[in-house]
Symmetry: none
DNA sequence: ACTTAATCGAGACGGTACGTCACGTCTTAAG
DNA sequence: CTTAAGACGTGACGTACCGTCTCGATTAAGT
């Protein structure tokens, strides 16, 4: 019955809830990384996990929400922000790491597709903001606020806007790839913003 | 069934090619604006236009490509960039116009959904870059190059990066709405970038 | 996909409409006779016929309607009523034939199940009356009317009621099998009714 | 979920067996009368009774058996047969009462649906015959036997057959409604059978 | 009276079937 | 020869029930 890859047949009876959840998330994450959002299907996840579609529908409100949860369970994020005392160094390092992640790992395919799916999947949109983008924004904002207190950034600057001008610029090239993501791009972002592009 | 508006019954035979194309694009655009990408379907477009699905498949390689073409045929873009001689004024005006378009018109729903769809629709992605984003980038880059020649922007700045830091920041808030698009945001983007956010 | 018996794989493309209809009805009839109404499923019929569930839903409004159509296509009814000139002989022959059909052939299982299903399947109920029971009633009523004209049955008798007292009695034993259907039963039905059971 | 009426929240622990049985049967009967066999579901009964599906499965072997038990617990049958000394009067009265019950009360929907369900539910079939039809047959047969002893019915007549020709005829019109159940029908049944329909 | 076994409810799980939607392909018929 | 009309197979979706199983809580019977 619609079993593309090893369908993982177990005993018929009910398995413990937590085990089912884990296996489903595992399967979802693997399928997402393997086929991308285009081939990501509740049906396939259920088959891979040896679970029932009904069970998936009960816990994850939409295909996108399931995909995001699967992504988290497989990738296992580290939320760290360097703090060397120099904001230029820290921002550059962080953005270069982001560029690397998006250009050289499977996240570079998955994250844009999740954001894409979120445009027509309200459940995913909310989950993505809450669990992914908001915490990362917060880390960057905190770093900028610390830089303000150290006198490296003007106090009247809105840190949130700065975040959009750094990471948003990266997402722009990721989602609408007119131009590629490069290390030079990462450095130019920070330099432009700290120094300004206007004539002195 | 699935005929929201007049199903347009005609004879079975062939109609002139151009007429069919026009009517299909008209229907596609209207459906896209009315229901968004979520309810946008080749089937519905065909029904609305009184055309055959086969015909649509012949001319538009994917659902996204059809949606984009329909969008253009209905919206009718104006590609203008003000040139007052002051780059700060021009950029602010242009970005405020963009923010207005995305916040107060139907484009604000449609464009993000098209970008979203483009993440899993290569045909749409290519078409979108070629016909939408690339020309707009070019306009902004030209304006920045003119500003360089006027001495308003440093010559060593990569104009493309600046574009990402202005419009990309807007797209960021559009696609991942942690924070809203506002006029103050538009102004802060230009100010941050021209003046720089670092301590003088 | 849920293929219990030979799923009949053909070329992928579309087959002519009439052929599909024939094959579906064939499969439906066979499944009905093989498993009875309990195991009769739209899904199984589709699999057996190598057809799509959607197609079945398009043409037959309910599971029961499909089963009835399948029954007809497989059994192929003969609608004949003997006319020897003697109504007692004709009725007895016809009812004995009916008893034989219900007791010794597969119809004896299928017809009761169809009637049973019809109690909660309005589509089937209407189709059954129109295509099965009504024509058979009409034949019997005609025979009784002829008997009236020959002076074998009183003119003031309602032939429809007589039909219920003959065939309805058989259906009674068929549907609520407190007692079996036998040849003696068939004969007693006619005798009771023609002669009367009261003291002379 | 699926709790139309008061979901009946109790403590988790075990309740007295008899109380559970009573409440389940009450709920089953009400649901059956309210929605008919089509909407009758073990799941709904369990929810209405605040009981567990497992408990229902333990005591009633099939959906139909539960429905029948619920019907009895709510309707509460009176098994009486008039005995005026005149069999024609008694039969007519009894059949008219039956016609009234089936035409003007909720039993008229429920009984046919139970018989229908019994065609594919052996448990229900057996229970129905044992608890419903057989006792009623017996009453009628006894009345006919008494009539024989009074000389109102010929001694060589099989009373069981007569029962089928009276009540079976009614069930016929009930289950296959080509024609309606009416009082005239009830009277004609008895008249036809007692007097006979043949020419004198 | 106090264990202890029985059985309840709650609820999740795998499974079967349903009815629906949209897709892309194919056949047939019309112009 | 292009088009429309429309049917078909496919894949997926979301839902409804079913019968089973685990778990914790409570009652009732046996000591």
């Amino acid at each position: 019955m619609t079993q593309s890859a090893e369908p993982v047949r177990r005993g018929r009876g009910r398995r413990p809830t937590d085990q089912v959840r884990r296996e489903v998330l595992q399967a979802a994450g693997e399928l997402l990384l393997a086929e991308g959002m285009g081939g990501f299907t509740i049906e396939k996840v259920a088959a891979l996990a040896g679970a029932s579609r009904v069970t998936l529908h009960k816990w994850w409100p939409s295909k996108g929400a399931l995909a995001l949860a699967g992504y988290f369970s497989v990738v296992g994020h580290t939320l760290a922000f360097p703090d060397t005392g120099d904001i230029a160094t820290d921002l550059t390092a962080q953005i270069r790491a982001f560029v690397h992640l998006m250009r050289d790992t499977r996240a570079g395919h998955v994250i844009p597709e999740l954001i894409g799916q979120a445009q027509t999947d309200a459940e995913l949109s909310a989950a993505y903001r809450e669990r992914y983008s908001a915490p990362r924004r917060a880390l960057a904002v905190e770093a900028l606020e610390r830089a303000k207190q150290r006198g490296q950034v003007r106090a009247d600057v809105d840190s949130e806007v700065v975040v959009d001008q750094l990471w948003g610029a990266c997402y722009h090239r990721l989602l609408i790839p007119d131009l590629p993501l490069t290390d030079e791009f990462a450095e130019a972002l920070v330099a432009n913003l700290l120094t300004g592009i206007g004539r002195p």
